[in-house]
Amino acid sequence: MFTVNLAIMIPFIAALIIPLVHKKVSRSYIGWVVFIVPAALFVYLASFIPSMAEGNTIVHTWNWIPSIGINFTSYLDGLSMIFGLLITGVGALVVIYSIYYLDHDEMLYHFYVYLLIFMGGMLGVVFSDNIMVLYLFWEMTSISSFLLIAFWYHRKQSRYGAQKSFLITVGGGFAMLAGFIMLYVMTGTFSIREIIASVDDISAHALFIPAMALVLLGAFTKSAQFPFHIWLPDAMEAPTPVSAYLHSATMVKAGIYLVARFTPVFGGGEIWFWIITGVGFITMIWASFNAIRQTDLKALLAYSTVSQLGLIMSLFGMGSAALYFGYSAESVVYTQATFAALFHLVNHSTFKGALFMVIGIVDHEVGTRDIRRLGGLISFMPISFTITLIGSFSMAGVPLFNGFLSKEMFLTAVLNISKLNIFSLENIGAMLPVIAWVASVFTFVYSMIIVFKTFFGKYKEEKLEHQADEPKMGMLIPPIILAVLVVVIFFFPNILGNYVLSPAMSSIYPGFGPNVDLGVEIEQWHGFNTELWMTIGIIITGIVLYLLLKYWKGIFRLFPRRFSFNRLYDNALLFIENRTTNITNMYMTGYLRDYLTYIFLFFIGAAGITLIYTGAFTFDVSNDVPVSMFELIMVVIMLGAGISILFVKSRLAAVLLYGVLGFAIAVFFVIFRAPDLALTQLVVETITTVLFLACFYFLPEWKKEEHDGRTKMTNIIISVGTGLVFILIALGVQHGQLFESISRYFEDAYELAGGMNIVNAILGDFRAFDTMLEVFVLVIAGMGVFSLIKLKSRKGGRKIEDQ
Amino acid sequence: MPAQFLTNLFIAFLWMLLNDEDELRFSTFFAGYLVGIIIVFIMHRFFGTQFYLRRFFALLKLILIFIRELSSSSVFVIKHIVKKEVTIKPGIFYYKTELRGEWEVSLLALLLTLTPGSVVMEVTPEGDAFYVHAMDIAESRENLLRSLAKFERAIMEVLR
């Protein structure tokens, strides 16, 4: 059966096939082969629309890590359907566009591979029910986005943008993963549906808020919300089809999707409401304001995208208020915010996709996107102009275009919410309409900039790389289709509303029951209400501001670039690199003494403190066996010889004293009834001494240790401390013996192993394994010594690496 | 001479067989060997050589000479150690020996060195003379030379 799971996999399969066949297929055909994938998937998904509209869902599971509960479970419902259609629909258009846009690039097949991976990843994100699998696809979109941004990786700016987007989105992804893990800890399941089902049990859990914050971190970074928006403008280094597809229509909406998806989990409370709404509003106004100052058309579109994403985000935030009330006639008003969000989501994809494509066309044709070099293109590129006009006006919220409808609904939602008296809204709720209005004015202004600065005014031929001209028809078709959609949706919004948007509403408000229709009848005209007056105000103010632009542009200088978040990001990286180097060099001195100091200090500290803290130090000499005169003398000798080693000036004297230590220990082994040990110790001692002497031939005589006073003092403290801890533990053990040794068993060595020498029986039989290995240790040492001496690097022949 | 030794061994084994004990005992063997020595000594002229244990006795004599020298010179050294003031006058002198060959020379050097108060410092490259360090050359040169002569003779008896 052709399942949704398989639908996710198809782009990946295609991505795997392309590198294998790209040499055999003519360059111009690859694109068309690729085109089949999203187009077919779009059709396939669209075939489910009627079923979805009836409130059905489709679930399918492939096992991946069943023992942990991580499986590929796809879940097709209203919400994922919207995104699925966007991904495949816009995807198909973008592929067509790319075929013409990128026809000169030699690494073309890479582009398609990345694009397909992205497509599959994005479908995976929206269709996955299992949050771990969702995360998997989530990172896949970040990765493919990274690769696409750096498609021209020889350009420094491309690498910079790629790195920035990667760090921010993947970092956010890590946070989101942590949040997901917390969700699992709270609910015991990785399935979103099951998590939603157990919402009531977790809202008081200690991990609830952290989980929410972490998931939102993922969402905000992905959707370029303030202050994480900084990656998006730099992502414009990507080829324009990518910008149109990933960085406006789909990937950046993954964060929005996540918020929508998790609204039933986290929504309904004040924190969620304010974080989403607040961040959305801030993002919206900050980005729309900043869009105006941009001179690069793509950068302008990027800021506009950020701003629009903020708008959608804020709508989801406001829509979550409905959950506070539960289902009632009154609360339905607030769900309209969510509906508006979904509507604007689609609309934005259409008009912004069209705009990106046209700007790409302009760039492609004249070789620049700098507003200061553009102008007067209308006579050379009338079709492009028309599309731009439609897209911009829709974005600006002007009637006849779909943007107007959703913008009106946005204003309605803001007005509704501002009248609420929960969540402290009674105090600052009135601010929201004001912010929304101001942001809309800015939006209007930059929309005008796009149209008028590019197509009107003086045509500056000398500043362009090529003569302006319309591109091939194939390149125009995709934006035309989108532009047409912009207009068609304005006139027939409810087809979309009823069949696509309404089913999604029940995904976001599952608690309201399956039979509740949260759909909204969208009207082009609803009388002269506040919203309309606000829109009229926006247009008038916008026109005025646009015309007076050069007079008030100076205001941007009040926001110097060095305080920008971009600078913050750059400086932070620089700071991290420098500081980390300093910090690491501080303790990684390469000096053996320092490393040993850490070890001994750790030993003294950890063991010493535990000793005191646990009260383990006790001692008792009553069980000690008595000491004879001779033994005492031997102890004194050893102490004398040992300590003298520190002071003697010649290394030979040191080795001699060391020899005394060795002999004396052998005597102690005799006193302690260990003949085998005494024998071994003596021979080993002597051979070691011979080795020392043999090596001395190669080494210079000792020089005086030139440590400064402080180092010397530290050395003394560490040495004494180490010895002391050693002694204290030993005394504690001596007093704290708990069990008899097992070694009585070995006293039957004769019966068991046929040997009268117990030590030898242990070495040769009971613990022969140790002995065998020990022999190997010796042999390895021998081989090591041999090879170390015989294999010398040739003088002067510096070898950086093998061979 | 090996023939004498083998004969002696044979007698010892014969002795053991004659004793007919149920296990092998070293003491029995030793007793048999002693008996053998007596028999071989009596019969040694039949072998046409000297009695094979003659060197053994020479060795015993050497050891006795050595122990006497050792004791007397030890007393001498210890006397100096316990004296209130150290008054010794050490010195290094040259001594040419009649002995030849590695073993003879070495043995002499060892004996001389073992006797307190003197130590062989160097053997000449030709191997026929020593440089000897004496602890108190003024007092003991004559004694040392006398000991050396005694040792040389005894060594020759053993090794030649």
């Binding site: 001699l656 005597v667 003949p675 031939y697 | -």
Partner: protein, 94 residues
Amino acid sequence: MIEYLVVGGLALYGIAIAVAVIRMIIGPTLPDRVLALDIIGVNLISCIAIISVMLSTTAFLDVILILGILAFISTIAFARYLERGVIIERKRDS
């Protein structure tokens, strides 16, 4: 009586060794120190023999022999080192 003599003898050897160690520490020349080590080694032979008497065991008699051998070997090694720097030669010139 016997015990006192034996224990006393052992203690005396201990003192002798201690004195030798002092000689080793103060030197002044390296051969002095080597000499001290040799003396310590030889004295230890006696010590172990006496300990064997005290414990009335023959288990350590091997140690005595070994100690004699090893004191000898180390002394030669040190002396060689003092004399020539190289303790084991590839080929002696003589």
